[in-house]
Amino acid sequence: MPAAQDTILAELTEMIDAVLGDFADDQVVTMDTTFSGDLGMESIDVVALAGRLQSRYGDTVNFAHFVAKLDLETVRELKVGQLVTHIAESLGQADEVGAGSR
């Protein structure tokens, strides 16, 4: 896994723990962990996570747009790794845009 994704996964894991609070299990969050099945996150927990993503990354990482592109089944089975990849790609594109304007 690229170093950037490693860092993002670590940050995301912290946000997930914060969202779940006392309900967080002690399990290790990996790229294959599912939000609903493995972490027991309800849809409102995922929305709360989206709020934290917006605070951390701003509009660069548009979670609402990301999930809107997925079909319902994929959203239901969403894996941490899919979100990590999306964040990495969004941040990468933002870097490119930034570099292009310099």
Binding site: G40, M41, E42, S43, I44, V47, A50, G51, L72
Partner: protein
């Protein structure tokens, strides 16, 4: 998190990525998405219409009602007017001063009508899914429904049974609903809410879209809505139940965007999911 009307409300805003919609006059309405009572949260809108509305050019506001989701849960204060006061205070706190497009799922639609009855000048359009204005017949049904849930959930094994039938997350949600109905006066206060007068409701003159599931009992309220607000466009989605918003989001989306174009002169192209 936003402090409004003395409590903390979990709120999210989705700003349009591009410029506002072209081809009409006046300021773009802010879309405010209001979820339903007891076991619902803003997630129902977040994963269905929030993003398409924001991408079409509407500044979009979502929030968890008091007692619900991640908003504060005071023990009392669950009459219709409390929910309307929360919404008014939230919009003031967010500095949303222009016209509003209110979308409400189930009882969220009733809050939308309740807000419009008290602030008619603010509301440019109302969309409800499986809902009705605050009229006695509807509130009687709300009372029955809440009583049934409040009666069923405390029974031994009820939550376990839901878990076995519909999975862990559904069981968590049922347990959460049980906690809310135990810790708050919602099931008693809400059905006993003082209601707006029929005159105040009939004075709502903005375009209205009411969507119903054909297999849901709530569709029986449609003639009442049309009698009160003749401008209402009623759309019944066949074979659908009370959960039509989350079961058929694309169909709901299509109906909302057609109504926006045809009844509200908000000629927005429904965004593709590209």
């Amino acid at each position: 998190m936003v402090r409004a009307n003395g409590i903390t409300l979990h709120t999210q805003r989705l700003d349009p990525p591009g410029p506002a919609v072209d081809g009409r006059t006046g300021p773009t309405p802010t879309a405010v998405l209001i979820h339903g009572m007891a076991s619902d949260t803003m997630a129902s809108w977040y994963f269905t219409l929030a993003e398409p509305l924001s991408r079409a050019g509407f500044p979009t506001v979502l929030y968890d009602l008091r007692g619900h989701g991640r908003s504060e849960r005071p023990a009392t204060g669950y009459a219709l007017d409390d929910f309307v006061d929360d919404l008014a205070a939230l919009l003031a706190a967010l500095d949303v001063t222009g016209p509003l497009l209110l979308l409400g799922n189930s009882f969220g639609g009733t809050i939308a009508f309740g807000y419009a009855a008290r602030h008619p000048e603010r509301v440019a359009g109302i969309v409800t899914v499986e809902s009705a204005p605050p009229v006695p017949e509807w509130m009687r049904r709300v009372r029955e429904r809440l009583a049934r849930v409040a009666d069923r959930l405390p029974r031994a094994g009820a939550v376990t049974e839901i878990g076995a039938r519909r999975g862990r997350v559904a069981a968590q949600r049922a347990a959460e609903t049980h906690r809310m109905l135990t810790d708050t006066s919602l099931a008693q206060e809400l059905p006993a809410s003082p209601l707006p007068t029929a005159g105040a409701l009939a004075a709502i003159d903005c375009p209205v879209l009411c969507l119903y599931g054909g297999d849901s009992a709530v569709v029986e309220l449609a003639p009442t809505v049309r009698g009160l607000l003749p401008q209402t466009r009623v759309v019944v989605l066949p074979d659908q139940r009370h959960t039509v918003l989350i079961d058929r989001p694309e169909e709901v989306r299509r109906q909302v965007f057609a109504w926006l174009a045809e009844d509200c002169s908000l000629d927005v192209a429904q965004p593709t999911t590209a």
